[in-house]
């Protein structure tokens, strides 16, 4: 494994009974890039993601993070190693303010959570970090609002903010735009773009809508029926005959969200 590879999978397989959801995927993700995984429903993207985050264990194969074999590490251990993961389902603290949601995530990475004799405002660093992240995800104006009052798109941004507050080296974003109104999507993609532009984090993005990822991705992997069908730069993927024939051809509508 060369130095620029942050994550590698080797012949990763996961079987559910007779169904092989992920079928021998070997993939290398370069550090500080945005690597997108696309594919239709049932292609095995989310299962593959769960294998990366440690939410499920592979039937066979290895997962390497920063050159270290993490195949047998549980999810929370991987979180401590620097892998942060967002979910398709929005899951925030509804009655806490937007700022507090993010502040808690920042506090979770520190070592002050059991200092019950001190006021939380004493720990300025978490508050400052939270404020910066809230601004980064474009929620500065709503910082004092209870999270439940945010529109769906706002909650997705907050979800990303909570993830960023933990300061992971590798972000696994599982369809961050799921369920968002079309006009809200560019804003979230801009945030993801800005994280990528900052250059210190690696992002793996699972996305359904191909048109969204063409501009922001450094590399794209196409999954189909549990296998890696193709991998390359966005333009290569768009020009790839196999992808076009076997995949974009009949599933084009599904990929772009257009029917």
């Amino acid at each position: 494994m060369d130095d620029s590879t942050i994550l590698e999978t080797r012949d990763l397989r996961r079987q559910f009974g007779g169904l092989v959801a992920v079928d021998g995927v070997s993939m290398k993700v370069q550090a500080h890039t945005l690597h997108t995984i696309i594919g239709p429903n049932g292609a095995g993207k989310t299962t593959f993601f769960n294998l990366l985050s440690g939410n499920i264990r592979p039937s066979s194969g290895r997962v390497l993070f920063k050159g270290q074999d993490i195949t047998d590490q549980p999810a929370h251990r991987r979180a401590h190693l620097g892998i942060g993961r967002s979910f398709q389902i929005t899951n925030v603290f509804p009655n806490l303010t937007v700022l507090e949601n993010v502040r808690l995530a920042a506090q979770a990475v520190g070592h002050d959570s059991f200092k019950f004799w001190q006021h939380h405002r004493h720990f300025q660093q978490y508050e400052a970090r939270a404020a910066a992240i809230v601004a980064q995800v474009g929620l500065a104006a709503q910082a004092g609002l209870p999270a439940r009052l945010l529109p769906h798109g706002g909650k997705r941004k907050l979800e990303l903010g909570i993830l960023l507050a933990a300061d992971p080296d590798l972000l696994l974003l599982d369809e961050p735009t799921a369920g968002m109104a079309r006009e809200e999507i560019p804003m979230l993609m801009e945030v993801i773009q800005s994280v990528r532009a900052a250059g210190d984090k690696t992002i793996i993005l699972v996305e359904h809508k191909m048109d969204l990822v063409m501009n922001v991705s450094d590399r794209i992997s196409v999954m189909h029926q549990g296998r890696l069908l193709a991998e390359g730069a966005p333009l290569e993927i768009a020009a790839n005959k196999t992808v076009q024939a076997a995949y974009l051809g009949d599933l084009y509508g599904d990929l772009t969200g257009r029917k």
Binding site: P94, L96, V109, D112, F114, H119
Partner: protein, 368 residues
């Protein structure tokens, strides 16, 4: 430019004062209350003519209505401590315990037994023992009951509390607990007798009350408390961002247990008696009612609730005799319907809506 530069430091102090002045006002009133009571409703004939002003003040405070109302406030403060400790569980950590009386009652029994004829411990040592016992008790039952959540936790804590209730009533330990008669007339140190030195006991209760209030407030404002609140709001999420919520819930459970035990010990000392009723479910329900009336998760709300319930109990019993609980029940219902977040909670949310209350009220009849 200069004025904006110096503004932050000024505004922090002002902000602090802005946050604290209502508390300071109430504290000032509570500190002065015995004197106010002595001067307004105290028995002027109790004051020795020729004695100094301060002596006369004390004499008047220790007699008649002044003494009676200090007793009322003492009980409000004690129940206030108990209700605050319950709010720490229910309001801040989201733990619905039906066994909180376990700690209140054990605190009461512990002090009574330890200073009583069986042990004859000095008062200070007995009070420390109450804290230690409550610590151990809440740790053990916290670890056992926090394994489950929601309604199951309510049932488990109820079972544990009933266990202690049955133990207290059991004839087997009559020599220690007095069985169903309870313990009466145990030797409370003379200098703390609420009968002879009402005002002194008043200040003792006030000191405990203020100390528990400050400790609880600091706890809920601390990083630890923030995680408690987070776990109340969405425990799953709190765990996903890396908090082992069990420990935070246990801290809340232990703190609440110790504070409730202190309340129970003061209660026993004030009444110079404990009966098994201090361990009964009714005692927990009282705390629940005070918390709900005042406002769940507001800290001051439950104290207000304790005061209201104490006053209502006194007045309603005078006006309606034995049927007072019926009127109390109706008032409680009206509060829940019109002030769903309790008095303080509704005030803070500024969500008082008479019309919504009426709608809820009318809906009550709609159920078939």
């Amino acid at each position: 430019m200069e004025s904006t530069a110096s503004l932050p430091t000024k505004s922090v102090a002002r902000q602090r004062l802005g946050e604290w002045w209502p508390y300071l006002l109430v504290l000032a009133f509570l500190v002065l209350f015995p004197a106010i009571a002595a001067l307004t409703i105290g028995d002027s004939t109790a004051a020795q003519p020729g004695a100094g002003f301060f002596e006369q003040l004390v004499q008047r405070a220790e007699s008649g209505y002044a003494k009676f109302w200090q007793g009322m406030v003492i009980q409000m403060l004690i129940l206030g401590i108990f209700a605050m400790s319950y709010d720490l569980l229910l309001g801040y950590t989201g733990i619905l315990s039906f066994g909180h009386a376990m700690f209140f009652g054990t605190g009461g029994y512990a002090i009574a037994i330890l200073i009583g004829r069986n042990f004859n411990w000095p008062f200070g040592l007995a009070l420390i023992a109450v804290v230690v016992i409550a610590l151990v008790q809440s740790l053990v039952f916290g670890v056992l009951s926090l394994r489950v959540k929601g309604v199951y936790l309510a049932m488990v804590t109820l079972a544990f509390a009933e266990m202690f209730f049955i133990l207290a009533e059991a004839g087997d330990f009559r020599a220690y607990t007095g069985a169903d008669d309870g313990l009466h007339g145990f030797p409370v140190p003379a200098y703390l007798s609420a009968t002879d030195h009402r005002t002194r006991f008043y200040y003792l209760a006030l000191i405990f009350f203020v100390a528990v209030f400050l400790m609880t407030k600091r706890l809920v404002d601390s990083p630890t408390g923030r995680v408690m609140i987070a776990s109340r709001d969405n425990e799953n999420r709190a765990m996903m961002i890396g908090f082992n919520t069990f420990w935070f819930k246990l801290i809340a459970f232990v703190a609440a247990g110790v504070f409730a035990a202190l309340a129970g010990a003061l209660f026993a000392l004030y009444n110079v008696s404990v009966t098994p009723s201090v361990l009964s479910v009714g005692r927990t329900i009282d705390a629940l009612a005070m918390t709900i009336i005042g406002g769940v998760g507001t800290l001051v709300g439950p104290v207000l609730g304790a005061a209201i319930i104490q006053l209502l109990g006194y007045w309603l019993e005078r006006w309606f005799g034995a049927n007072w609980t019926l009127v109390y029940g109706i008032i409680f219902m009206l509060i829940v319907i019109f002030l769903p977040y309790g008095i303080v909670g509704t005030l803070r949310a500024r969500s008082f809506r008479l019309r919504e209350g009426w709608r809820r009220w009318r809906k009550l009849g709609d159920r078939d």
